[in-house]
């Protein structure tokens, strides 16, 4: 068990893992969706709403990291932004899931 703890602590972290909100947004944008649809899904999944400003700012950060593709569109009401997780985003999502799973296993191991 001890060596697992050492590996966890001492392993070099080469790539940034998505934060909690980023992780959820990446997972929701696996299919291409508009920001408004994602906000609705976020509220349904998480149970609390996210403001459009936070959502779009977070997606801008994800876009800068290369994890999300953004498409602009326009309809009668005004501008629309569509988001879809890119290949790098899917890889980041997978590594974050693996990280969370390893943490869960680690906690289970400690409990035993």
């Amino acid at each position: 068990m001890t060596w697992k703890v050492c590996v966890c602590i001492l392993s070099p972290v080469n790539e940034r893992l998505p934060s909690d909100v980023e992780f959820r947004l990446l997972a929701l944008a696996v299919e291409e969706r508009s920001g408004r649809e994602i906000a609705r899904e976020y509220k349904r999944e998480v149970g609390r709403s996210i403001s459009y400003g936070t959502l779009y700012t977070t997606f801008r950060r994800l876009k800068d990291a290369g994890w999300v593709r953004v498409r602009e569109d326009e309809d009668a009401d005004g501008r629309l932004r569509y988001f879809q997780t890119s290949g790098a985003g899917l890889r980041a999502l997978a590594s974050a899931r693996a990280h969370h799973a390893s943490l869960a296993n680690f906690q289970l191991g400690v409990a035993r």
Partner: protein
């Protein structure tokens, strides 16, 4: 220390005074605008826009309606409504709150094929109306508008956000444009769900101020990061 406190208080007073002056100027400008429009409405036209979209499940195809209001001065605000299989009567019921928002309180212009027997009506909701059959394209020629415009005292949601936009950089302006469009869509959906105007206004105002505070918070955070790079540690969500 005293000088700093006096400086901060003085700045706050100046900002408040500036805000008060700006709001008074905007109110006067709006009032003048509506006063000009009072005698200048030339034509109101309601028409169905034909759009070809595939059916989704059992839902009828969406129908989009455009309401254009021509003023003699040349300005032309447009209202678009997208509805699924709604009758012309429902369209009129949705258009009226929009017109009220613009400042038109007398609906005597709604006449012709779409809504007859209302040329003399002041309160269209209490009138018996005869509508054209569903699906008929109905250009409506306005007869005339008496007492057409009154100033709405309650500002429509989105105005404060538009004011904030004026002070922002290009990137935040883009963000505010998208947010305002989304808030408009939320408002339209709430109206289609049958919520009352007061609730819609309250919800929109709350959302608007939430967005404004978020934008202000992010600005302060960027400022803190600029002044002290260690503040970047709290920038991650």
């Amino acid at each position: 220390m005293m000088n700093v406190v006096l400086g901060v208080v003085g700045t706050m007073v100046l900002v408040l005074l500036f805000g008060a002056v700006v709001s008074i100027v905007l109110a006067i400008r709006r009032r003048l605008w509506y006063a000009r429009k009072k005698v200048a409405i030339a034509r109101i036209c309601i028409e169905e826009l034909r759009i070809e979209e595939p059916r989704r499940g059992l839902a009828p195809p969406p129908r989009k309606w455009a309401v254009s209001i021509d003023f003699e001065s040349g300005s032309k605000p447009l209202i678009f409504l997208q509805m699924r299989g709604e009758s012309a009567r429902r369209v009129v019921d949705l258009i009226i709150p929009r017109l009220r928002r613009i400042g038109i309180r007398d609906y005597s212009f709604i006449a012709g094929p779409l809504a007859q027997a209302s040329a003399e009506a002041h309160f269209i909701r209490s009138q018996s109306r005869v509508f054209a059959p569903e699906g008929v394209v109905t250009p409506v020629e306005g007869l005339h508008v008496r007492n057409s415009a009154r100033v709405i005292k309650r500002p429509a949601p989105g105005r404060v956000l538009a004011l904030v936009r004026w002070f922002c950089g290009r990137e935040t302006r883009d963000l505010i444009d998208v947010i305002r469009a989304d808030l408009d869509r939320d408002q339209r959906d709430m109206r289609a769900e049958g919520h009352g105007p007061a609730l819609i206004w309250f919800q929109q105002t709350v959302c608007e101020w939430r967005e404004i505070l978020g934008i202000a918070g992010r600005f302060l955070l960027r400022l803190a990061v600029t002044l002290n790079p260690l503040a970047k540690l709290i920038d991650r969500q």
